[in-house]
């Protein structure tokens, strides 16, 4: 069989154009059935009536969303006033995820910059060092942080040994521990995209600015950071999104008092509360916030930089 007809215009004729549908079909089916359908089903569940031992009754109801936003008093017949419990949990999650993002940025940016400016030969080694923790089981990393922060743990021991504090301070089961945990969990997610951006940065721009008598910090602020901004934003999103829905850090480091939205959702399905429609509604609210954020991000991306090459 002669397949040589593709010589002329070889850039436009794709090799597997006829087989394309068949090639993509397994992925389409798997993801449509196992991800897309479940998410749509979750949307449906959030409008159903709860059954007390978990599960749902197939009757349309706004109860789940009402429970999230609406306080109807002890007997449930008062007029709706604002319910703050869940909004506060949500708000605190946003706040903690935001703070974790900021902390990661403060440590991650200098690190990424430092690595990207090493000689080209040793750069992969540095990236490798950052990548390892990224690949290590998040559960194990969270457990090790719990080990570090506990009452008689290394951190407390070190602080008492150096006489910074007189007796161990309670760190585990506090918001502080959750904050540290989130920061520690997602730090590599910040470094890698910023590194990728700084590595592509053309340092002649900095030289040009220096020739025009800009100081180093002015160059950093006015030339470098604006140029690598897409990488910075990507890093922030990669830290913020998983922090917002985090479950392990609040559960293992925060204990029962320091709920985040992830723990609230988990409680509805695994815990004793067992309110599936409410859990589905809380998940929908979380998902919508994330999707809105991602859409804003996609809009803000400069087009030519991100376009995928179409077989060219």
């Amino acid at each position: 069989m002669a397949g040589g007809a593709t010589i002329e215009g070889s850039n436009t004729t794709a090799t597997y154009e006829q087989a394309r549908t068949w090639l993509l079909l397994p992925a389409w089916i798997t993801l449509a059935v196992l991800v897309l359908t479940p998410v749509l089903l979750m949307l449906v569940y959030s409008f159903l009536t709860k059954e007390f031992r978990g599960g749902v009754i197939w009757e349309f109801s706004f109860a789940a969303y009402e429970q999230f936003f609406c306080d109807r008093g002890l007997f449930g017949d008062d007029p709706c006033s604002m319910e703050w419990t869940y909004i506060n949990i949500f708000w605190r999650s946003i706040w903690q995820a935001g703070l974790a993002t900021l902390l990661c940025l403060c440590i991650g940016f200098p690190t990424a910059y430092f690595i990207a400016t090493r000689p080209e030969r040793v750069r992969p080694m540095w990236v490798f060092l950052i990548t390892i923790p990224y690949w290590v089981n998040l559960l194990i990393r969270t457990v090790s942080m719990r080990f570090m922060l506990r009452e008689e743990g290394p951190v407390n021991n070190f602080l008492t040994w150096t006489h910074i504090i007189d007796e161990p301070i309670q760190m585990i089961n506090t918001n502080f521990a959750v904050q540290v945990g989130l920061f520690y969990s997602y730090l590599p997610f910040m470094v890698l995209p910023i590194y990728a951006a700084v590595e592509r940065y053309n340092f002649t721009l900095s030289e040009a600015a220096a020739d025009l008598y800009a100081t180093k910090w002015v160059i950093l602020r006015r030339v470098l950071i604006p140029t690598v901004k897409p990488g910075v934003i990507a890093g922030c999103i990669l830290v913020f999104v998983p922090s917002l829905g985090a479950f392990l850090a609040p559960d293992l480091l925060g204990g029962a008092k320091n709920f985040m939205i992830g723990s609230l959702i988990e409680e509805q399905f695994k815990g004793n509360a067992g309110n599936w429609p409410f859990g589905a509604a809380a998940s929908m609210i979380l998902l919508s916030s994330v999707l809105v954020l991602l859409m804003i991000y996609a809009r803000s991306q400069v087009r030519p930089r991100r376009v995928h090459s179409e077989g060219a």
Partner: protein, 269 residues
């Protein structure tokens, strides 16, 4: 001039920040690894070097539970990584070699969907899905969920690799009377191998490490290594947990190192 350009590049304090960053990332893991060799029954005091907790993991009271969990984890990770890598390889071929077509963006969106949806949301949705269709929760539900969310992790390195391979190789093969199938299996597939291996390893680790989704879709009594560790940690961190953690840690590091050298060798070609 040379020294001046170097000077522009270097900022005081950035090097020390990098040291801080690496310390933060590695110190907790190193401490747990060191303490897993502690001879003491308690996790507080250091009583000398010993392998006793590693022995305990394999022969101790809880060893059966952890062995079973480990076997479940590895079987699921191996199967999920294999299946999702195959699906991802086909999809990457279709996406990068399929020309322009309507629904390309949509396909890409669908493939990266598991990366955009927060993990806990995927977990909830999958649980609801299996519950609605009356699929009993067990190992199979874990496996199906893992196959789905591993696809984008396998897809990205494979597609990245494929984009870097010029189509002219396959066209040359076809000019020499190779069939499309031959051009794929004899030319494209070997060239893609480094990407496929990276994709497979990444999917494998992602599946092996997953806790949140597994925790939701697993049946009662079915445990994988992460859910078993989580259950044990809830009772307090015991030394045998630290030994298991250290072994998993070592395993992950070996996998990343392999993946690193595969891609490095690939760069030299």
């Amino acid at each position: 001039m040379r020294s001046q350009t170097l000077n522009i590049r270097n900022y005081t304090g950035f090097a020390s920040m990098t040291v801080v960053c690496l310390l933060i990332l590695y110190l907790p893991l190193a401490v747990v690894a060191v303490y897993s060799f502690n001879a003491s029954q308690s996790i507080v005091a250091w009583e000398g070097f010993s392998f006793r907790w590693y022995v305990d993991v394999f022969t101790g009271l809880e060893s059966e539970k952890f062995k079973l969990a480990a076997r479940n984890s590895f079987v699921i990770a191996l199967t999920a990584a294999t299946v999702s890598t195959m699906i991802a390889t086909l999809a990457a071929t279709g996406m990068t070699r399929g020309g322009r077509f309507r629904g390309r963006t949509l396909s890409f969106g669908l493939i990266s969907l598991p990366l955009m949806v927060p993990e806990i949301v995927t977990a909830v949705a999958t649980l609801i899905f299996f519950n609605t269709i009356g699929f009993e929760r067990g190992l199979l539900t874990i496996l199906l969920a893992h196959i789905a969310f591993c696809i984008p992790f396998a897809y990205l390195p494979i597609a990245a690799r494929m984009q870097g391979i010029e189509e002219t190789y396959e066209q040359a093969a076809q000019d020499l009377y190779a069939t499309k199938r031959q051009a794929f299996t004899k030319i494209l597939l070997p060239l893609m191998m480094p990407g496929i291996i990276s994709g497979f390893l990444l999917a494998f680790i992602i599946s092996l490490d997953d806790f949140i989704i597994t925790n939701f879709v697993k049946g009662a009594g079915v445990e994988t290594l992460p859910t078993a560790i989580f259950g044990a940690v809830k009772q307090g961190i015991k030394p045998n947990i630290m030994a298991i953690s250290t072994m998993l840690l070592g395993f992950s590091i070996v996998m990343v190192t392999i993946s690193y050298f595969v891609s490095k060798k690939d760069d030299e070609v």
